[in-house]
């Protein structure tokens, strides 16, 4: 019986909804904008403190700083060091923070702070070109011992990784042989490992890592061993031979670069303190998104004033959706189609109870005054105009009286749209004359009920969050409203209205 097919319509609505949800999901994944409001993400604030003693001459301090540490993203970096020139230099071998000053004497303290966000998706960058094992020369009798140890390790292993593990195990104190005792002394252990691995044809280097624990001060870097397996650098604990980077371990320095160089200073040392902070996930996403092209779709690029306006505007579709649902599916009668939405918007600014009190008192006083206006026999336009002026008087009066009595909430009356209130009063008054107080009560309470529902939906933090951060979700709202426009089923109120038909069934 359908005149034209509705299939294209449903396909269109389906596409709208799918587009809205998929763009939202995409932005959620790409930009990390959280679905839920109030979501918190941990952020490690790490402070490197460099101490040295100036010699009364020009000083240059250069500290190795992390460059793309695996498992972390760098959120911010800053230095605190009064009187010093500061810059971050990125050279081929890594990034360094550099402080400079013309004349330095006495004890000096420099700080470098960085915020690091745990992110498992960040892997280790593969080196630009595969590193070659260095050539190492040994003198006798060490050479023999090394050869023997490497032979044992090679026999028990198949890959560079297993070879490294076996070698570390052989070097441990509990299964030391003569060979190892000859080689190992307490302070050269890691360097020895690196040299031996290089000798065995495996590119190896040291790395320094920081174990992240909340609120620790004066921490030192822990040494780690890294080998290159032909694809990427692998990290080993040189004591336990454990492979991989444990959680809460930040690789501060990788490669052969020195950690700290001080020119023009003595007794230099570096220590670390750290703090675990939580940052709202949304703020984090915004900080990171500023560089991302996708953020063009968001509203955060706009001036603050426009942003707050859009916050309000973007809530309107939610109100419209609720009005459509209430009228089409539930069948609640309201006075004026979208008057409830505008009232709800005003409620959002005034909060519910003061808003309700203000709204009801303005309308009630307005109805009384309208009664007098109707006896004046005015033309419609001038009657409405007079009513608008009266409504402004009423709101001004309520605000002033409220303020003098110490209720600041009285001021919130001004958020109500004056013209809408004037029309509401006019319509209510005509309704009263024509259909009686009962109908006024039905439509008035219906409007207020819908307005309160819309207010409750619009004022939830989640609604504000989703509408503002995922504006594409409005496509879903649009799709739902379009779908409701095709709803031909019974309204809830009709099930009641047609009840007397039961006898004919």
């Amino acid at each position: 019986m359908s005149v034209r097919s509705r299939v294209p319509f449903y396909v269109f609505v389906f596409l709208l909804i799918v587009a809205g949800i998929s763009i939202g999901t995409w932005r959620h994944i790409e930009l990390g904008i959280p679905w839920m409001t109030g979501e918190q993400r941990p952020v490690w604030m790490i402070e490197a403190r460099v101490d040295f003693e100036g010699q009364g001459d020009a000083a240059e301090v250069s500290l190795r700083i992390p460059e793309q540490p695996p498992g972390f993203r760098i959120l911010s970096e800053q230095a605190a060091s009064p009187g010093y020139g500061f810059s971050i230099l990125a050279s081929g071998s890594g990034r360094r923070a550099e402080w400079t000053k013309r004349e330095v004497s006495g004890p000096q303290t420099l700080y470098f702070k960085g915020q690091f966000v745990p992110d498992d998706s960040v892997g280790q960058a593969p080196p630009a070109r595969p590193p070659k094992p260095q050539t190492v020369f040994w003198e006798e009798p060490q050479a023999t011992a090394v050869r023997e140890l490497l032979r044992q390790a090679r026999e028990r292993s198949s890959t560079p990784e297993s070879m490294t593990r076996e070698l570390i195990r052989l070097m441990q104190p509990d299964n030391r042989t003569q060979n190892t005792t000859l080689l190992v002394s307490e302070d050269n252990y890691l360097q020895l490992l690196v040299r031996m691995l290089n000798h065995a044809g495996i590119a190896a280097r040291t790395a320094d890592a920081l174990r992240l624990e909340d609120a620790r001060r004066r921490q030192q870097l822990l040494p780690f061993l890294q080998i290159y397996n032909g694809e990427r650098w692998l990290t080993f604990d040189p004591r336990t031979a454990e492979q991989g980077i444990p959680e809460h371990l930040l690789l501060w320095r990788q490669g052969s670069d020195s950690l700290l160089d001080v020119v023009g200073g003595d007794n230099s040392e570096v220590s670390f303190s750290m703090l675990r902070q939580t940052v709202p996930a949304l703020q984090l996403a915004n900080l990171q998104a500023s560089s991302n092209g996708l953020s063009v779709l968001g509203f955060y690029q706009l001036p603050i004033e426009e942003q707050s306006m859009f916050r309000m505007l973007l809530l309107l579709p939610i109100g419209a959706l609720i009005v459509a649902f209430m009228r089409i599916v539930i069948g609640i009668r309201t006075s004026g189609t979208f008057m409830p939405v505008l009232i709800a918007v005003a409620f959002v600014q005034t909060t519910l109870v003061p808003g309700l009190v203000a709204f009801l008192s303005v309308v009630a006083i307005g109805l009384v005054l309208r009664g007098y206006l109707s006896s004046l026999n005015l033309l419609l336009v001038s009657r409405i105009s007079a009513l608008i002026i009266l409504v402004i008087f009423i709101t001004a009066g309520l605000s002033i009286i409220g303020y003098q009595m110490g209720f600041n909430t009285g001021m919130t009356v001004t958020f109500f749209p004056m013209v809408i209130i004037a029309w509401t009063i006019e319509r209510m008054s005509i309704l009263w004359e024509e259909e009686g107080a009962h109908e006024v009560l039905v439509q008035g309470s219906g409007s207020l009920f819908v307005a309160i529902c819309a207010y409750l939906a619009m004022s939830t933090p989640l609604a504000g969050h989703l509408t503002f951060n995922f504006p594409e979700l409005h496509l879903v709202v649009l799709g739902l409203i379009l779908l409701m426009g095709q709803y031909t089923g019974y309204k809830l109120s009709e099930l009641r209205r047609f009840t007397p038909m039961k006898v004919y069934d």
Binding site: N377, L379, Q486, T488, G489, Y490, T499, M501
Partner: protein, 315 residues
């Protein structure tokens, strides 16, 4: 709370608001034809070409300054009705049935000075009763004197007959009787009594007020079971003819039976209400589908009325 299940409603073929709007009004009523029915003056002119009679037009007040002409025109009239051309649901209609010196007597018996009527005209011109608040025109019509056989059932006000016409076929009809609750108006939602009429014979079926079944008129106390409308086939044909005049596929035709002039068209409605189904005790949907399924529609209004009487009659 008493509820009826959607399945029951479906079985009864009850047309509901959303379905009426989407499947019938939006589909069969051309937007451009709306002004023809929303403006009583245009309706009058349009249907007169198709031989449908309406109450005699006495005066049209278009401008504020023409209101002074009303006083002289009404000088020697005793009965007339003032209507806003674009009013809906009987809003703004004032019926004058007599005079007492300089004052007029309303249908309710209340006296009303000329000044008040002029103010009423002013309100109409300003658009107080028009659908979208747009400026309007007031029309003054001859008073309809209802035939006594029907008038006795109604409390004040003129009883009128609402016929739903779908694609030129009268599909359902009811008699609307004013009550004290409805203040002399024939609008069901204001409390008028709706009496379902058998399309086949013009005899009354059930009666409802405020959606509740009744058997006696609440004010006149007369039984509502055995009302018979005279010249029923003519009235159906007249209603069917309005389809040609307006081109509206789904509309409500409001007729009155005047004692002198016979059936007259009061107004047309492009969005007829659903209460007619309750007055008839059956749903509209089966009848609408019957018409939609017609392979070869009848061309003349007479044939269409005859088809409806045959297909939708009770007996």
């Amino acid at each position: 709370m008493d509820w009826i299940s959607p399945r029951q409603l479906k079985r009864l073929g009850m047309l509901n608001m959303n379905r009426r709007n989407v499947d019938y009004i939006a589909r069969y009523n051309e937007r451009s034809s709306y002004p023809l029915v929303d403006n009583k003056l245009k309706t009058k002119l349009a249907v007169s070409e198709y031989g449908v009679k309406t109450p005699r037009l006495l005066q049209v007040v278009r401008q504020q300054h023409e209101i002074s002409g009303f006083r002289t025109m009404a000088e020697d009239l005793t009965g007339f009705a003032i209507k806003p051309a674009k009013g809906s649901g009987g809003k703004g209609i004032t019926v004058i049935t007599g005079r007492d010196g300089d004052d007029f007597i309303k249908a309710s018996g209340a006296r009303i000075p000329v000044a008040n009527l002029e103010r009423h005209l002013t309100n109409i011109l300003a658009g107080l009763y028009s659908l979208a608040g747009t400026p309007d025109v007031a029309i003054i019509e001859n008073l309809v004197q209802s035939v006594p056989s029907l008038a006795k059932y109604s409390f004040q006000g003129v009883p009128d007959i609402r016929i739903v016409v779908f694609q030129g076929y009268p599909v359902m009809a009811m008699l609307r009787l004013a009550t004290t609750d409805s203040d002399g108006k024939a609008n069901l939602h204001q409390g008028a009594v709706g009496v379902g009429l058998d399309i086949g014979t013009g005899r009354s079926l059930n009666a409802v007020q405020f959606n509740r079944p009744i058997t006696l008129h609440p004010d006149t106390g007369l039984p509502l079971e055995n009302i018979q409308i005279d010249a029923w086939p003519d009235m159906l044909e007249m209603a069917a003819r309005c389809y040609e005049a307006t081109g509206l596929g789904y509309m409500g035709v409001d007729l009155v039976v005047d004692a002198q002039e016979g059936p007259l068209l009061l107004e047309l409605n492009a969005r007829p209400g659903l209460a007619i189904q309750m007055a008839n005790g059956c749903g509209l949907l089966p009848r609408l589908k019957n018409i939609e399924a017609l392979k070869r529609p009848h061309f003349s209004p007479k044939e269409r009325a005859a088809y409806s009487m045959k297909s939708f009659g009770r007996l």
